[in-house]
Symmetry: C2
Subunit: 207 residues, 2 copies
């Protein structure tokens, strides 16, 4: 197999983390190249579109988080083979990416502008997406977003739901998932307690 | 097969058009539900996340353009089966979606704000993406973005490249593709002259 190297910030979130989880849970060997924020200006000089995550397949470098995540999911058996189930999986991935884009758009703001933008996210935009996700989950049986089993849609959902409830985003209340969509909070806790995921973070916590 | 119904604005662009092209070229029967802009407020009341395109698979309704496009590509044989080629196809789809998002972000602006935002797109952002696309094309052999054949990445590229060179976007020069990436202009013209695509638009022009 072509050697696989993933390059992303050294933290357990963002667009890189679901890829790491997918490769790890799928048993796919890869080089987990993590870098500190101070190194990013250097990294982005050679990264396509100046973005991360990127993946190297031998000498070929590829960008775009969801594209890489889907590839990782296929390699690790965490992506539906059935076209209709893959559609459901992809729909949720795109909805989660919308959430990321809307939050990221507030990163450059300061003071009152930041507060207003974040409060609008917390009051309307995020609850709309969270209720939509809860509805999708219910529509697929309540346990997983697609294929009646854990897929990359669940991994990305876990990373993003944890992020928005972490308290690290000013003006986004940590109970936002529970208040907007209680069933999604239960889902998030259940996916987060998947033994392979718990073990992964337990092993990482010493690093 | 489950009956397929695509709902989108009645024009030959945006996130719906590559799906129509993929279903048409792939010989997949579908109901092409087109609506006038004035009808959108009514449509969005029942559309998931208030967005289009949406697709109905029987009674199940699904949103997110690229997810639907990938599904259409699979049904019509215009999506790579090989995981690495699918990664290349998905990478380009996501890059094209970035372009759409960056242009869409200027739609609400007026006057000087609009001019400044569009000029920044024309001077820096779009040329960066266009050169990146040209580099990707070259890296895959120069003819197509993935799988050495026409895929949904080429269909979405055609729709977006035509859009940004159409003159319908104020302050974006119609020669932007040719000046930023001449090889991409040749590619766009070549993909646009694919007989099935020419025939499709010839047949539509009477409607």
């Amino acid at each position: 197999m072509t050697p696989l190297k993933l390059t992303y910030f050294d933290f357990s979130g963002g667009r890189g983390e679901p890829i790491r989880l997918a490769l790890h849970l799928g048993g796919v060997p890869f080089e987990d190249h993590r870098f500190a924020p101070a190194t990013f200006p250097e990294i982005r000089k050679t990264a396509p579109l100046g973005q991360v995550p990127i993946v190297h397949l031998g000498d070929t470098v590829v960008t775009q988080g969801d594209a890489i995540l889907r590839y990782a999911g296929k390699l690790g058996g965490l992506y539906p083979q059935d076209a209709e189930q893959a559609l459901y999986c992809d729909e949720v991935l795109s909805g989660l990416e919308d959430i990321t884009i809307k939050i990221s758009a507030t990163f450059g703001l300061k003071g009152e502008d930041m507060r207003r933008a974040r409060e609008a996210l917390a009051a309307e935009v995020l609850p709309k997406y969270l209720r939509w996700l809860a509805g999708r989950l219910e529509g697929r049986g309540g346990a997983y977003f697609a294929d009646q089993r854990l897929t990359i849609a669940d991994l990305k959902a876990l990373v993003i739901l944890r992020w928005i409830s972490s308290g690290s985003l000013d003006h986004i209340p940590t109970d936002i998932v529970a208040s907007a969509a209680p069933s999604l909070k239960e889902y998030m806790d259940r996916i987060g307690s998947t033994p392979a995921i718990v073990q992964y973070y337990a092993a990482r916590s010493g690093k």
